[in-house]
Amino acid sequence: MKFKVAQEPFLQGVAKVSGVVPSRTPLTFLYNIHAELKGNTLTLTASDGDVFLITSIEVEGQKDGSVLVPARPLQDLLKELPGAEIELEISPEQHLLLSTAKGQFTIPGEDSSRYPSAPQEKPDNKIQFSADDLKKILDQTTFAVSHDELRPALTGLLLQFTEDELRSVATDGHRLVKLVKNKPADGGEAIEVIVPLRTLNLLQRNLEYSKSVEVFLATNRVVFTTEDLTITSKVVEGKFPAYDAVIPKENPNLLSFDIVPFMAAVRRVSIFANQINRLVVISLSPEEIKVSAEDPDSGRKGQESVEGIYDGDPIDIGYNAQYLLEALRHMPGGKAQIKLGSATSAGVMTPEKQDQGTDLLMLLMPIRLQ
């Protein structure tokens, strides 16, 4: 393998895929990037065994071939060679020889045949998104994905395509986000998959630089392709819980408020909450809306009244401050409202003004007060 390339596109390519390289693994070959040259196209692949990131860059090819290169030293070196023209060649003992106008660098590589290969074909079911749309979907939902490995089905985002909608749902059993969007123009057939959080995080990082994304879905695999990156990932196996059944339809008590000042108050008060259960209490009556917290163990307490409108029965309802704040933070700006049933049933939070073609809803389960 032999080619010439400018530092910048090379570094960008390496940086794009190396995000998936695990920091500690017994499968040491995963510390490498798989580089393959065919003609003028250099294809770079990195993987953690479950997710594969693949990108291609244009180079001035001289001799085809492939090799495994350790990701870290290659990336570190490329960062320090701004503007350089690089010539790269593989020695017979699989060493990577990089030369610039003034320097020569050797990185020992490995035979590429050991590297696992990503499944080649893309599933048939294809949906096209604008990168911005997809980014927004992920930003508003992934925070509620569970980290509990003991309930695997909750450790990913449910993507559910129906006839005319895309529903994205995340839950950890205490809170839930459901985001429904009109289906993009050329949506494929009805299908649902649970995409692992890690895959989505890798995708999110790369959406900044893209315009549109194609998503290919199969029941066991999902592939995302942007202009210059392909992410192939396994999906989470397991059955996502029947979420629609737990969304209350008729919560009679309505609280509406400005998100920013409400959040600020919750944040201040939560400093006084018990650090283990993070309990904050919202006391609601048509006269006053109050947020309070108290930690009997340390004797700390705090309360604050906040602006807003409450229409309903007086009620004290407890929440885990972290859940409440995270939900608020992921609401689109402006006002939000929470529809409440009882002090022990799910509250339904929605933005006062939904984004175009979007229906966002968050559920929060309260903490039952003594």
């Binding site: 205490h174 018990n274 650090q275 283990i276 799910a346």
Partner: protein, 608 residues
């Protein structure tokens, strides 16, 4: 260079040809269930007391067995996967009296050659363990790693390199049922071991150490009820024990019949006939009684080196054994008020044929359907409350030794009130929280400390207060075994007070709607089973007192060793600990804090 200690601590040897040729070796890995069997045997041979099993995809995608046994040193870990490598046998003489379940030194190498596997092992006292990765019998990787004492062997992609063999596997569900059968055999013969069995992510069994009888109930939940009778007969150094089922329980197929010789599950038709003959006419023709029987015998008098499956045995004196089994069964039935000979006097002999072990045919008229079981019979209650309870009391009787600590407790309390700034707090090995006090370093056992905190909280909650509970979006439905259901009903109200909102949902089902807030991060409903298990382990089968329930709750809900804590979490733990009444010991009486004073340090460094 080879580390000299690892050579020294090596226990596994390669068998000499002479020994090896005398071993009934051969096909070891027929199907996933054989892998499971071998791995469990190894764990048991390593003296494990806790064994956790995970299988997935009918055992084809994964079979993992985790034990807390002796573990292996690095050199042994590598050697274990060689052919003819064993620590259990060295000479031909050893084969004459086999005391372990394994003895061929074959299993691991055979498994390794047809799968990808990962073996992690750590010995007690060792600073770290090792993880070995293999595929198709070749070592891929060996790294040093932190690991709890014991061994975990995880077999993935079984038969990935032997497609022909793979083709012969049955459907997932068939392989799953073979796996379960293997598991049940071991769970029955080792009731003193804590087992768990997870299949495709689902908890299938979680068994605390318990009496054989409780274990039977747990494994065959519904059917048994009071319909099992203990067998116990010793003669000439041979002991037959276990349980037989009432004739009512007899089945049309040979399902639930288990025979163990020196705790090894064996297949032995003649022995089966001996049991059947003990039942005599109480069992209808072509029906198979339920039994779980153990034969304990000097290993010199039984040969297990008969067949590669290690599940066939030859007895030195088989007749004697069949006879004892027959009598043992008959006697047990008699004690239960059922006379197997009664309707049977007409029959000349129903005897086990001394050569074939077959029961000789009996006259037709003796095959009377059995009449209803006796009314007056009462079944002995399971042995309970064997656990001493001192542990709980210690907490309420501060010891003399703790009195001196109390002075420093003030300094600790000041520290926790922010009067002395706790600048240095860190976690050691994800087990201990270390902090600096005015004149000492305090080392806090994170689990014991949290246990103390939760114990007092739970006690307050049970005595009138209540705990906050996080409501669940998806209520969880739990199925429990009948005896657990009884216990659970007894504690239902108390659990409510502890913040566990649980209700009856059927005879053996319960629904959990809320869990204690901030107690377990995942809002894990297994806390309920954990508490039940803890109570059962302590021998409590009916309504426990508040102290015991609080202790069980605290023990199972407290953060575990191995959980990493953030700085705020550590600070909060310390604060809460010193807000308790007896911060210096956990509810079982173990210390929560050790202190290393400046004076002590100076003495140790020879400065004073």
């Amino acid at each position: 260079m080879e580390n000299p200690t690892s050579t020294l601590s090596r226990k596994i040897n390669l068998l000499s040809e002479e020994v090896y040729n005398r071993i009934a070796a051969g096909e070891v890995v027929e199907r996933p269930a054989s892998v499971l069997k071998e791995l469990i045997e190894n764990a048991l041979d390593a003296a494990a007391t806790e064994i956790d099993i995970t299988v997935a995809g009918g055992g084809q995608s994964e079979i993992t067995v985790n034990d807390n046994g002796s573990g292996m040193a690095k050199a042994d870990l590598l050697l274990a996967f060689e052919r003819h490598a064993t620590s259990k046998v060295t000479s031909v003489n050893d084969l004459a009296a086999i005391h372990t379940l394994g003895f061929r030194g074959e299993a691991l190498s055979a498994i390794a050659s047809v799968a990808r596997l990962e073996a992690t092992s750590s010995m007690q006292e060792a600073l770290s363990g090792h993880r070995l990765k293999m595929a198709g019998g070749k070592v891929i990787d060996l790294i040093e790693t932190g690991a709890p004492t014991g061994t975990t062997i995880s077999v993935k992609e079984l038969f990935f390199n032997t497609p022909a063999r793979k083709k012969f596997l049955k459907s997932r569900s068939v392989e799953n049922s073979h796996l379960l059968t293997v598991f049940k055999r071991f769970a029955l013969s080792y009731p003193d071991i804590r087992w768990s069995y997870v299949s495709d992510g689902k908890d299938v069994y979680r068994l605390p150490p318990e009496t054989l009888e409780n274990r039977l109930q747990a494994i065959f939940s519904e059917e048994l009820g009071n319909l099992i009778f203990p067998v116990q007969l010793e003669d000439d150094g041979i002991l037959v024990s276990g349980f037989i089922g009432a004739p009512k329980l007899a089945r049309k197929s040979r399902g639930d019949q288990f025979l163990f010789v020196n705790r090894r599950w064996v297949q032995n038709r003649p022995l089966g006939f001996a049991v059947l003959s003990g039942f005599g006419p109480l069992i209808e023709d072509r029906r198979f009684p339920f039994y779980v029987l153990f034969i304990d015998i000097d290993p010199e008098l039984v040969d297990v080196n008969v067949h590669p499956s290690k599940s066939e045995v030859k007895f030195r004196n088989e007749h004697e054994i069949y006879n004892i089994v027959h009598r043992g069964v008959r006697q047990a039935l008699q004690k239960a008020g059922m006379d197997a000979t009664r309707n049977y006097a007409v029959s000349p002999e129903e005897k086990v044929d001394p050569t074939t072990g077959e029961i000789l045919p009996r006259p037709l008229d003796s095959r009377l359907p059995h009449t209803s079981p006796q009314q007056g019979f009462t079944f002995p209650l399971p042995q309970q409350n064997k656990m001493p309870l001192e542990g709980y009391q210690i907490a309420f009787q501060p010891e003399a030794k703790q009195a001196t600590d109390v002075q420093d407790a003030d300094s600790l309390r000041q520290a926790s009130n922010g009067e002395i700034e706790r600048t240095q707090v860190y976690q050691f090995h994800q087990r201990y929280v270390v902090t600096e006090l005015k004149n000492s370093i305090a080392i806090i056992d994170q689990h014991a400390a949290h246990e103390r905190i939760l114990y007092e909280k739970a006690l307050r909650a049970l005595n009138g207060g209540k705990m906050h509970s996080q409501q669940l979006l998806f209520p969880r439905i739990m199925e429990v075994s009948p005896d657990r259901a009884v216990l659970l009903r007894d504690v239902l109200e108390d659990l409510q007070a502890l913040g566990i909102d649980i209700k009856e949902f059927g005879e053996r089902s319960f629904v959990v709607e809320a869990l204690p807030a901030g107690v377990k991060e995942s809002g894990d409903d297994r806390i309920v089973l954990d508490i039940l298990d803890e109570l059962r382990e302590k021998g409590i089968a009916r309504k426990p007192g508040h102290e015991k329930l609080a202790a069980a709750f605290a023990c199972r809900a407290a953060i575990k060793f191995g959980k990493s804590l953030s700085l705020p979490e550590m600070n909060s733990l310390i604060d809460q600990l010193f807000a308790t009444q007896y911060p210096f010991s956990c509810p079982h009486g173990r210390p929560t804090i050790l202190q290393l004073t400046l004076g002590e340090l100076e003495r140790r460094f020879g400065r004073s």
